[in-house]
Symmetry: C2
Subunit: 107 residues, 2 copies
């Protein structure tokens, strides 16, 4: 039985890179935990994904920009967003300390 806790094993202080931990991967479904400590999408870059993504902000805080929207969306704990495939988006800010934790589901 695969099981765990989304807040376990977080870095005690900010680290250089975001960490991506794959929790489940099978038959088109991928569930991962992402831990950010202040990182954001590099200036001028966008995520443009082949698959739909459902993302929940489990802990921390972040700002998300969706292409075509006038302003960033401020995300707080337990906020979720569904990003259809090819919905271009970027993370413009993440809380650094304590870490920001995301649960991302790709299907």
């Amino acid at each position: 039985m695969q099981a765990g806790n989304l807040r376990r094993g977080l870095p005690a202080q900010p680290v250089a890179n975001e960490t991506f931990e794959r929790l489940i991967e099978r038959s088109g479904l991928c569930i991962e935990r992402i831990v950010s400590t202040g990182q954001s999408t590099p200036e001028g870059e966008w995520y443009d994904q082949e698959r739909d993504e459902f993302v929940v902000l489990v802990a921390g805080a972040a700002r998300l920009r969706i292409e075509g929207e006038a302003e960033d969306r401020a995300l707080a704990e337990c906020d979720w967003v569904f990003l259809p495939a090819h919905c271009r988006h970027r993370v413009t800010w993440t809380r650094e300390d304590p870490p920001t934790v995301w649960l991302a589901i790709h299907c």
Copy 2:
């Protein structure tokens, strides 16, 4: 853009039945929020599902019994469990107040 918050709109006090709110349903993926206020699986009954389920306890507390295991699993906030299709299980207890919130992903 579909978006929301998993802790929003919770009942102010325990209610008679669990509530199931479908957040996303498309092409084999179903994501729902379940709110429990003390409910459990009726004695002698088991969930036996056709699809895999990934479940996260977003808020509250619960106990989960997996068929074949000697004891319940105590679930706290941010605990997750992956239940493969036909893994028989039952919820033996949920915290009543404030409510217990689950995020369930079926694929």
